[in-house]
Amino acid sequence: MEIPYTVAERPDTGLNNVKLGIWLFLASEVMLFGGLFSTYVILRVGGVDWPLGAEYLNIPIGAFNTAVLIGSSVTMVMCFASLKLGDFAKYKTYMGWTLVLALTFLVVKGYEYYEKVSHDHLPSHSTFLAIYWTMTALHGLHIVGGVIVNGYFWGPGSKLWHQKREMFENRIEAAGLYWHFVDLVWIFLFPVLYLL
């Protein structure tokens, strides 16, 4: 038996279940990161002394990673557009670039973490570093999750395109929504942690 409304729109919601499901998941993610941002604001404005992000963090590296993640969002949206145009080869290329950019982000982040550890700037060092590690590590885990999903759709999962095109397009759209959300979180994390 086929699961209904994975591709077709449900008449009551006006969306297929895949899209509704990923949006509801992202709503829960908004609350997860929202809780941490709320915690940051309380600690920041309630603290007597708070360091500038630049005292601990490297702004050019953070700005570079922001550009990398925005670039990966562009290639991700181009994956979906390529499938809409029926160009599977371009889809594979764009998804490959999305993965390369995501891994670049992780390598740069790993270098930043290495620098922090080597200077003994661990979460126990200060409240600023505690919230920095918590928020960036949680975001990094989301990047890792995205790499696993996108890697699957770039590799073995892409076979679905040859069998059920619309279903594959839907899955890429859902993966794209998740990836753009991860980019969105970093768009707020970068100024909040690095620049203020």
Partner: protein
């Protein structure tokens, strides 16, 4: 996003423009951080730019401008509402103590013990 190849190509043009706008706004974010202003104003400027960038991502990359679903609109409106509650309620409950040094109840326990001896 749905529709004909022509419509998809129009969308691609929009994606490129949005990508350019995001790149420019990222540079503006970094430059704005070097302006010497008070912390609350710096936070407001940074968050305004971040919100502009976020709106572009949500509207065009996540195709929210094309969504017509009422269910999704309700779900997202509720999300925004509860996110605001999450952000504002804890801040408001402590807003009268901002900037006031408030040590933990046992912060000077060692001194108290020293004094006792």
């Amino acid at each position: 996003m749905s529709g004909s190849p022509e419509e998809t190509k129009k969308h691609i043009d929009i994606y490129m423009k949005v990508a350019g706008a995001l790149a420019v706004l990222t540079v503006v974010t970094v430059l704005a951080s070097y302006i010497d202003v008070a912390v609350p104003l710096a936070i407001i400027i940074a968050l305004i730019i971040a919100t502009a960038k976020g709106s572009l991502v949500v509207s065009y990359f996540m195709h929210l401008v094309d969504e017509k679903s009422r269910s999704l609109a309700i779900a997202l409106a509720l999300t925004v509402f509860f996110w605001l509650v999450l952000m504002l309620v804890p801040i408001m409950t402590t807003s009268d103590t901002y900037g006031v040094h408030k040590p933990l109840p046992n912060a000077n326990a060692t001194h108290a013990e020293d004094g006792a001896h």
